[in-house]
Symmetry: C2
Subunit: 193 residues, 2 copies
Amino acid sequence: MKGRPVTFDNEEVILKAQKVFWEKGYTATSLADLLTTTGMGSGSFYNTFKGGKKELFRKAIQQRREAFTQFKAELNKSESPIDLIKDFFRSIAAADKQTHLQGCLISNTVTEMTFVDLDLENETIAILKDVEKMFAAAIEKGQQDGRIRNQTDPVILGRYLVTFWNGLNVTRRMYPDNKILQKQIEMQLDIIS
Amino acid sequence: MKGRPVTFDNEEVILKAQKVFWEKGYTATSLADLLTTTGMGSGSFYNTFKGGKKELFRKAIQQRREAFTQFKAELNKSESPIDLIKDFFRSIAAADKQTHLQGCLISNTVTEMTFVDLDLENETIAILKDVEKMFAAAIEKGQQDGRIRNQTDPVILGRYLVTFWNGLNVTRRMYPDNKILQKQIEMQLDIIS
DNA sequence: CTATTTTTGTATCGATTACTACAAAATAAA
DNA sequence: TTTATTTTGTAGTAATCGATACAAAAATAG
């Protein structure tokens, strides 16, 4: 192929952009922010992301979604997916302050984008519903093989876990304190047992 | 007192501004948005709110806080504050779609303002902690007079309710559906019984 | 009435917003 | 080496951002 070779690694750029979006949200992140953190000039930027800021944000969201897809693949291989999910929640109590304050990129975006951008709102809501489905499936399996005594409808318990997830990402900002979070997480996971 | 009389009712202006901020958040709300919805010219605007956009936002937050303070006063008069709190949660399942999508102004602001504005972040976190305290106090009372069997530390259960509250305000956007929300709310309130 | 004080509307400020135009740079193919 | 193709960096675009300057308007006080 002809032409000057690219100097920027696309995935790396998206990852750097993702971090800024994650911290400040879509609107509060300026193009200048993105250019400085990625190291790109606006020439390369718009050559790479023809859809501009919004396209890059979508790519960042999708990249984040892949992390979730990977986790889901692990669950499918697991004997006891609900335990992996519980471990995931428990691992939050081992994160650092920065991570606590960032919360969840997807939850943040749902909250930010209602009444602002319908596309992004729907896109992120769809991801959360996917997460919810995954939770519900793991719970149903746990109920069937006797690992979970609670026989409440797995759909309800799945929604309980997404609600917990979204709420926890605010609680983490109130208390970026691993001891407090640990107690809280244990108490709420006890429901699913 | 001398001078041209004011034509704008201050509390009314703040209420109108509050609605826009509630929908779109702080950053995405432009001064033009505020001027059109309040009907003010920028002259009156900066004459009334010398701190500009941020001062008005703070006033909107404080006005919202007063609604909470009023509720807290009712709780203090009540024989069974925990039942009032449960009623409050249950009443969410009777709200309209617009209300569901708006979520909670305070939770929204915590999420939006981390890494953007430390003042506003701290201010709104303080409010949530106040709400949490109120929950915990009501739970403790309920445990003492036998209305609540669950003897888990009221501090933990109070945090459980704020976490629920914050999570529910995302779930409402995923499912602005009163039947779904009702089931979810009942299930989560059952913990406190 | 006149003088004083405050609010209001308008016109506008510099700064920042997201985004483009375009030529120089850097490669591969002919 | 020449030509074609693509990326890169820089300069600059119009539009919008939040915020001001200021005079006309509208009241009260004397």
